[in-house]
């Protein structure tokens, strides 16, 4: 069967950079093709060419055997190519139907929106593929997973046959990921073809019919999940062998460095988000805080770092009462913090790498003398850190916003680990990063533990918690459900605890529900 989509020799040259170098790609009808590669491998460029955002420097695109020129997103949609972006393009105060029809409005009598007819089509599409989206719902009120389905409906509404999903799982909870996979399988069963962009190996292995691996703008491999392993894919993707498991020696916990007792914290809506939470973190151990997003972890961490007041309970760091202390007072107790949202809270994207590396130490010697910044010292230190932490940047004066996500996270890690620390609070430290960066960040966190720091690791990725942590706390609806040694905690048990089932010790539960 002829491929529904064929790319031949696609090359895209930006000034000084070859983003895509003679890439060949074919997609058959009813196929899920995974496009795998690290951040910066050229996946986004390739898909943007396909979606008409860039013109290729050379190469040919054929759809249904016919060579085409795609001049823009509108054109791409006309040719049956639809894209679901990683960052949703939705208008939050509008309804699902309104968002779907936006830009392609059904009207009656010339100027009046025909919401009813559009809603009917949305419902029809939703039912056909089991998307379970209410056309009347306001976007703002929908969970992220459902918003993503609205994006998919938008594409289907415009009768796309080829769907490009750009890192669709980056923003989803594990359960939502499973739901998405079910939907994708229904889509291909219904005759659609899907290009699935990802850098998560397990997802690619589970979902894809065929995998194409890009590295540094070149296609470095093409295979099927049946013929390969996660390790082989990782090697292909990174260009060297990477360890997917974490090597660490047993923890040697010492004195307690963080003591939390009876902590109550309100969220932004003044609801109790953290309820009577007590736990300890010792020097030389990694305590993992697991839980589905939105169960109070964010509020707990904000209370620990001084960003949010607690209404009762105490927090002690190294024996000092720091309940409701200011962020700076807490930092002064040698606490390092890797925030959950690195671009929003961890970095000033417009600032140079060097300035971001002193973001919370700028006022101390040797970076400052009196009120004068010591630019020489700052720059020298920045150059050293960029080298030590392998931050890939054109220079220390480059704005951090120009770096890839992994390198941005390295800047934060370099900053936080560059001073003696006794407590590290790392919130989602590897979210959205590629394999190489994850491996690196993990090794650094373990190095901190082995150096005697206590580590509190907050992650919504159960695998990460299980790999790294020495002890695991599970949070559900603001309460701590469990405090277990990591080697005693089973995946199923943790999953149930995350879902709020507390007496889940020995109940056999089926492994992940995969929709196949």
């Amino acid at each position: 069967m002829a491929p529904i989509l064929q790319l031949e020799g696609i090359t895209k040259v930006f000034p000084g950079v070859i983003a895509n170098d003679h890439i060949d790609l074919s997609l058959h009808q009813g196929e899920i093709l995974a496009l795998l590669g690290e951040n910066g491998a050229g996946k986004s460029t390739l898909m943007n060419i396909l979606y008409g955002l860039y013109a290729p420097t050379s190469g040919r695109i054929s759809i249904n055997g016919q060579e085409v020129v795609i001049s823009g997103p509108q054109d791409a949609i006309r040719q049956g190519v639809g894209m679901v972006h990683q960052h949703f393009m939705l208008v939050p105060p509008l309804t699902v139907t309104e968002n779907v029809m936006l830009g392609d409005e059904l009207v009656h009598r010339g100027i009046f929106l025909d919401r009813r007819r559009a809603a009917a089509r949305v419902r029809e599409i939703s039912e056909a593929y089991g998307l379970a989206v209410n056309p009347e719902a306001i976007i703002r009120t929908l969970p992220v997973g459902v918003q993503q389905r609205v994006e998919i409906i938008k594409v289907l509404y415009r009768s796309a046959d080829i769907l490009i999903l750009d890192e669709p799982t980056a923003v989803l909870t594990p359960q939502e990921v499973l739901d998405l996979f079910v939907i994708i399988r229904r889509l291909v069963a219904g005759g659609k073809s899907v290009i699935f962009i990802s850098h998560k190996l397990n997802e690619v292995m589970e979902l894809a019919d065929r995998v194409v691996v890009l590295r540094r703008g070149r296609k470095v491999g093409e295979t099927t999940p049946a013929e390969t392993t996660e390790e082989a894919l990782a090697t292909m993707m990174v260009g060297r062998s990477v360890s997917l498991s974490v090597d660490k020696s047993p923890a040697r916990p010492q004195e307690s460095v963080l003591e939390v007792s009876g902590l109550d914290v309100l969220d932004d809506r003044h609801q109790l988000a953290v309820k009577n939470v007590s736990f300890e973190v010792h020097q030389g151990e990694i305590v993992g805080l697991a839980g589905v997003q939105g169960n109070g972890q964010t509020e707990l961490v904000e209370a620990l770092t001084g960003m949010r007041p607690s209404i009762s309970g105490t927090v002690r760091i190294d024996g000092h009462d720091v309940t409701n202390a200011s962020p700076r007072q807490i930092i002064e107790h040698d606490v390092a913090y890797v925030p959950e949202d690195r671009q929003q809270d961890g970095l000033v994207l417009d600032f140079a790498v060097s300035d971001n590396l002193i973001l919370n130490t700028y006022y101390r010697p040797p970076f400052a003398r009196g009120i004068g910044l010591q630019r020489d010292v700052i720059d020298a230190s920045a150059r050293q850190l960029v080298q030590d932490f392998d931050v890939r940047t054109p220079g220390i004066d480059t704005a951090v916003g120009n770096l890839s996500g992994g390198n941005q996270q390295k800047v934060i890690v370099a900053r936080e680990f560059n001073r003696p620390i006794q407590l590290l609070i790392a919130s989602q430290p590897t979210r959205g990063l590629d394999v190489g960066s994850i491996e690196y960040i993990h090794s650094r966190i373990i190095a901190q533990r082995d150096g005697g720091a206590g580590v509190l690791l907050i992650s919504s990725e159960l695998d990460e918690v299980m790999q790294l942590a020495d002890r695991i706390l599970v949070m559900f609806r603001g309460e701590l459900m469990a405090d277990l040694p990591a080697d005693e905690a089973g995946r199923d048990q943790l999953g149930l605890l995350m879902a709020g089932v507390s007496n889940a010790q020995a109940q056999p539960q089926p492994e992940e529900v995969s929709g196949s």
Binding site: F14, I18, G40, S326, Y362, G372, R392, T393, G395
Partner: protein
């Protein structure tokens, strides 16, 4: 590896864009002058009407003044005519027969011009006339603008030459325009710095105008109420009073924002009105000049006045240097100190600043105090350097223009100084342009507005001059650049 060539391009563009914006604004301003110039309009249109002296019927006749404008080909009062090789002026009533000539006599000399009716050609009949008139209108206007703001180069050269020969008498006249430009620029520099500093710290200080007023009030009070102090004590105190007054006025909205979230744009605007009303009340009450009827304050002591360097009507005073020093100080504070680092961090990403342990309250209040202080100093500068008392119509809108200045100068002290010099020059030259070329002073506001639009919307300039920019969509995703560079 390095992206420095791109950086150099960017820097070049950063310089080129404002220049092109100014040039484009001047060109458009020229077009505006042309289309609003009556002589040009007359040259382009055909308006056969009776010239009557004196003015009688507005339907068919026009007044003498209008006739002078609309009918340059007709001999009317005020014209120069050549009689036997001598240039004579046409007047209604001859007083000096050697230089003047009567209207009737002039008409008799030029019979080919009918007695009162003038036929004008339309543009297409005689395009050169129209173009010449257009060119003349623009040239007259811009020459007047230049001579009013910088000076007449020939006069300046002559004055300098005379001065070198030991005769300084011409200097004042030749350099008066330049002095006025610098004098006008000074409050622009200070208020522009005020707004720029606020921008850098993420505070949109729309209240520079009010802070300028309050700074004027506090400094004038210290200036006239303290007596018998030496200059080196009194003058700094007076200036300081302006800084503190404007600073405190500015920190109120800063504090409100930090504590209540009240937006500083709204609150600074409201504080402006309070400042105007406060000034009105003070000047009509407690601070009114004793024995006077006008709402103005007493004059400040001589010991509170900024020194002037030249005699006569040259108003250039030490405030200009004070402003330059403040620009340097602001630069140092913003980019070389921990305080500036805090302010800029809060301005660029308040959330990250909070995570880094920076107190938002402190930064917001401090930023607004410094910003207000600079605006207050601008007020104090005008009191101690120029007018020596506080009138109720104190400001010429510096506080509002300063927002545009900060934008034009990209919130960088050096940029602000350059932008302020530009604005001050335009403002000072506008007066002469109005008197010489009869171009309304508002054209300068229009010029300024256009410059700002072109700076704020550089796409317009790029489109006009076909300047290529690696547009956002023609850039690889940033991640691709950084990784790809190493390939």
């Amino acid at each position: 590896m390095s992206r420095s060539p791109h950086n150099r391009d960017e820097r070049l563009q950063a310089l080129l864009m404002p220049l092109l914006a100014i040039v484009t604004a001047l060109i458009l301003g020229g077009l505006l002058i042309i289309v609003s110039d009556l002589q040009v309009i007359a040259a382009f249109t055909r308006i056969p009407r009776q010239v009557a002296v004196p003015f009688t019927n507005p339907e068919t006749e026009i007044s003498l003044e209008e006739a002078l404008w609309r009918h340059p080909n007709e001999v009317v009062i005020g014209d120069a005519v050549e009689v036997k090789g001598k240039q004579l002026r046409v007047v209604g009533d001859v007083r000096d027969a050697t230089t003047q000539i009567g209207l009737d006599e002039a008409r008799a000399l030029y019979p080919e011009l009918g007695p009162g009716v003038t036929i004008h050609f339309t543009f297409f009949q005689k395009p050169a006339v129209g173009l010449r008139a257009a060119w003349r209108a623009v040239r007259v206007a811009y020459v007047a603008l230049f001579e009013g703001s910088i000076g007449n180069p020939r006069q300046m050269a002559q004055a300098l030459a005379a001065w070198l020969r030991g005769d300084p008498s011409l200097l004042n006249r030749a350099f008066y325009p330049l002095s006025e430009s610098l004098v006008t620029s000074t409050p622009y520099i200070l208020t522009g710095l005020a707004v720029a500093l606020g921008f850098r710290a993420g505070m949109f200080n729309i209240g520079a105008e009010g802070q300028y007023f309050v700074g004027g009030l506090t400094s004038v009070f210290v200036g006239y109420s303290l007596k018998g102090l030496p200059l080196w004590v009194h003058l700094p105190l007076t200036l300081l009073a302006g800084i503190v007054g404007g600073g405190l006025w500015g920190s109120i909205p800063g504090w409100l924002k930090a504590k209540t979230g009240g937006h500083e744009v709204i609150n600074t605007i409201m504080m402006n009105y309070i400042a105007f009303a406060l000034s009105d009340w003070l000047l009509n009450g407690p601070m009114m000049r004793p024995g006077g009827f006008r709402p103005i304050s007493p004059e400040i002591e001589v010991s509170a006045r900024l020194p002037r360097f030249f005699g006569g009507d040259i108003r250039f005073h030490a405030g200009f240097f004070l402003a330059l020093v403040m620009a340097l100080l602001v630069y140092w504070l913003l980019f070389k100190t921990t305080i500036g680092f805090e302010l800029r961090t809060v301005g660029a990403n308040p959330s990250a600043a909070r995570y880094a342990g920076i107190s938002l309250t402190r930064s917001m209040v401090l930023a607004m105090f410094l910003s207000g202080g600079l605006a207050g100093l601008a007020g104090a500068n005008d009191i101690t350097g120029l007018i020596y008392y506080m009138p109720n119509a104190f400001s010429a809108g510096y506080g509002f223009d300063s927002i545009a200045l900060a934008l034009l100068g990209r919130s960088h002290p050096l940029g602000v100084v350059l932008a302020a010099l530009l604005f001050g020059t335009l403002r000072a030259g506008a007066t002469r342009m109005q008197s010489v070329a009869q171009i309304p002073i508002d054209i300068i506001s229009i010029l300024q507005a256009m410059i700002i639009i072109f700076i704020a919307a550089p796409e317009i300039i790029r489109a006009i001059y076909r300047i290529k920019q690696r547009r956002a969509q023609e850039q690889p995703p940033e991640a691709d650049i950084v990784e790809g560079v190493q390939a």
